[in-house]
Symmetry: C2
DNA sequence: TTTCAATAAGGAATTAATTCTTTAATGGCG
DNA sequence: CGCCATTAAAGAATTAATTCCTTATTGAAA
C-alpha cells in the first residue's frame, strides 16, 4: 500500500496543469479590472470552456471558493502562482545558444515564471567564453564540472540531430528535468522529467481541423 | 445519421496529431542515417513511448507498414508531411508585431511547415506602414478591407489584455483558425478553430513534477 | 525448406479525463 | 424575513485515449 503510494502517487493531471496558467492570466486581467471575486462560471464563459472543468482544475490547489460568489481574486493569484511553482526561482542551464536559445536567454518573461537561466553551454567557438545578458556561455564538454552546483533544470535548444546525445550528457551532469524545444522526443532515464515544447505541433492540429472541414 | 456524421465527424485525436510531427522529425533523422525502413518498435524505443501508440497514430494516415520490416522511410515522410498539411502552403496574417510577432515574422521554420505570413497588423505607428522581411505591416483598424482575400489563418501575438478584442476582430474579418500565443484562452464562435501555444504552460507541469518528488 | 522472431493492425480491455448530476451553502432581492 | 438564483464541490456517468491482446504475415536464419 505504502509502496503503491510512493510509486504511483496521485498526480495532478497534466491537462489540468497546462490549463492553470491560462486561468492565472485571466484572473490577473480580472484584478486589473478591479474585480474582487471571480467565479468558475465567469471564467468558463469568457474562456469558452466547461465551468466544472475550471472548478475541478482549481480544486487540485488548496484554494477554496465561496458559494454564491466564487473565488477571491488576490488569494487565488497567490495560490495559483505558488502551486504552479512560479514564485520560487528555479535555476536552469541552457544547452544550445543558437537563435532560439538566445531568444530564451534574453526573454524577460522566463523570470516572471520562476525560471532563471544561469549559464549556457554550446560548441560554437564564436560564442563560448562570451557573456549574453549576464549569462556566461561555456563549452558543453566542460559541463560535467558543473554537476556539484546541483542545478536540476536544463533547456534543450540544440539542432535536432544532437538532441539525444546532448540530453544524455545533461542527465550525466545531474539534470533532472529537461525542457525540450527540439521536435524529436528524447529518451532518458525514467525518473528524468521531460517536457516537450514543439512550437509547430499546434500547426498540425490546426491544419487538420481546417482541412477536414472540406 | 447523416446529420450526426456531419456534426460529429470522427476526428483524429488531438494528442495523436500533436505527436505526429515528432515522428516526422525522427524519421527524417533516420533518412539522414541512410535507413530505408523504420519500425514502430524502433521509433518507440528511441523516443521512449509505447510501440502500439506509434502504430495506432500512424494508422490515422493512409500509410501501411510492412510486416516484419516496418514502414518505408521515403513514402512515410511524404505521407506524414501531406497528412499534417506541411506540404500545402497556407497563408496567414499576424496580429501584433511585437517581440514575439517579429520573431515569427523572421522565422524561416514556419515556411517549412506550410505557413506563410503575408501581412501583419498592429497599432504601433512606428511600425505600421513599414516592411519586415518582405511582410507589410498595416493598421489593425484597416483589417476588414482584407476580408475578400479569403485568408483563413491568423496568428495572435498581441498583449494579453487585447487578446479577446483582437480575436473578435480577426473573426469578423474572415479568420477561421487562430494560432493563439497569448496566455489567455479566447472565446470565439464555435466553428472557429483555436490552437493555444502557451510557451510557459510546460513549465507548470515541469515544476509540479519536479517539486512533487520532494 | 522449415522454423522463428519481428512486425503491423484490428479490436478489446483498461485507464485517464471530462462532463453531468446532485447537494448544500449563501448573498441579494422582493 | 423568506425565497431564489448562483455557486463550489463531491462523486457518478460518460467519453476519450492509451495500452494490451490476438492474429496473420514475412524476412532471415538454421
Ligand atoms: N529557431 C526557432 O524558431 C525554433 C523554433 C522551434 C523549434 N526550434 C528547435 O530548436 C532547436 C534549435 O533551433 P535554433 O534555430 O536555435 O538552431 P541554431 O542552429 O540556431 O542553434 C543551435 C545551437 O546549438 C549549438 N550546438 C550544436 N551542437 C551542440 C552540442 N553538442 N552541445 C551544445 N550546443 C550545441 C549550436 O552551436 C547552435 O548555437 C532545433 O532543434 C529547432 O528545431 C527552433
Ligand atoms: N515575447 C515572448 O517571448 C512571449 C512568449 C510567450 C508568449 N508571449 C505572449 O505573446 C504576446 C505578445 O508578446 P510580446 O512580447 O511580443 O509583446 P509586445 O508588447 O512586444 O508586442 C505586442 C504587439 O502588439 C501590438 N498591439 C497592441 N494592441 C494591438 C491591437 N489592438 N491590434 C494589433 N496589435 C496590437 C503592439 O503594438 C505590439 O507591437 C503576449 O500576450 C505575451 O504574453 C510572448
Amino acid at each position: 500500500m505504502e509502496e503503491e503510494n510512493r510509486k504511483k502517487r496521485i498526480l495532478v493531471p497534466e491537462p489540468a496543469l497546462r490549463r492553470m496558467p491560462s486561468y492565472l492570466a485571466y484572473i490577473k486581467l480580472a484584478r486589473k479590472d478591479g474585480m474582487k471575486y471571480v467565479s468558475s462560471t465567469h471564467i468558463a464563459r469568457d474562456m469558452g470552456v466547461d465551468p466544472t472543468q475550471v472548478t475541478k482544475d482549481l480544486s487540485y490547489t488548496s484554494i477554496v471558493g465561496k458559494t454564491r460568489v466564487g473565488y477571491e481574486v488576490e488569494p487565488l493569484i497567490d495560490e495559483l502562482e505558488n502551486f504552479l511553482g512560479f514564485r520560487i526561482m528555479d535555476e536552469a542551464y541552457l544547452f544550445g545558444a543558437g537563435s532560439l536559445g538566445m531568444a530564451l536567454l534574453h526573454d524577460h518573461g522566463l523570470k516572471q515564471f520562476g525560471l532563471k537561466v544561469v549559464a549556457a553551454f554550446d560548441v560554437n567557438p564564436e560564442i563560448v567564453g562570451k557573456n549574453f545578458g549576464g549569462v556566461p556561455v561555456y563549452h558543453v564538454d566542460d559541463f560535467l564540472q558543473f554537476k556539484e552546483k546541483g542545478i536540476q533544470i536544463g533547456i534543450l535548444t540544440v539542432p535536432v540531430e544532437k538532441a539525444q546525445e546532448v540530453a544524455h550528457w545533461m542527465v550525466k551532469g545531474g539534470i533532472r528535468a529537461i525542457w525540450n524545444f527540439t521536435p524529436v522526443r528524447i529518451k532518458v532515464e525514467e525518473d528524468v522529467i521531460v517536457q516537450n515544447t514543439s512550437l509547430y505541433a499546434p500547426l498540425a492540429v490546426m491544419f487538420n481541423r481546417l482541412h477536414s472541414k472540406e
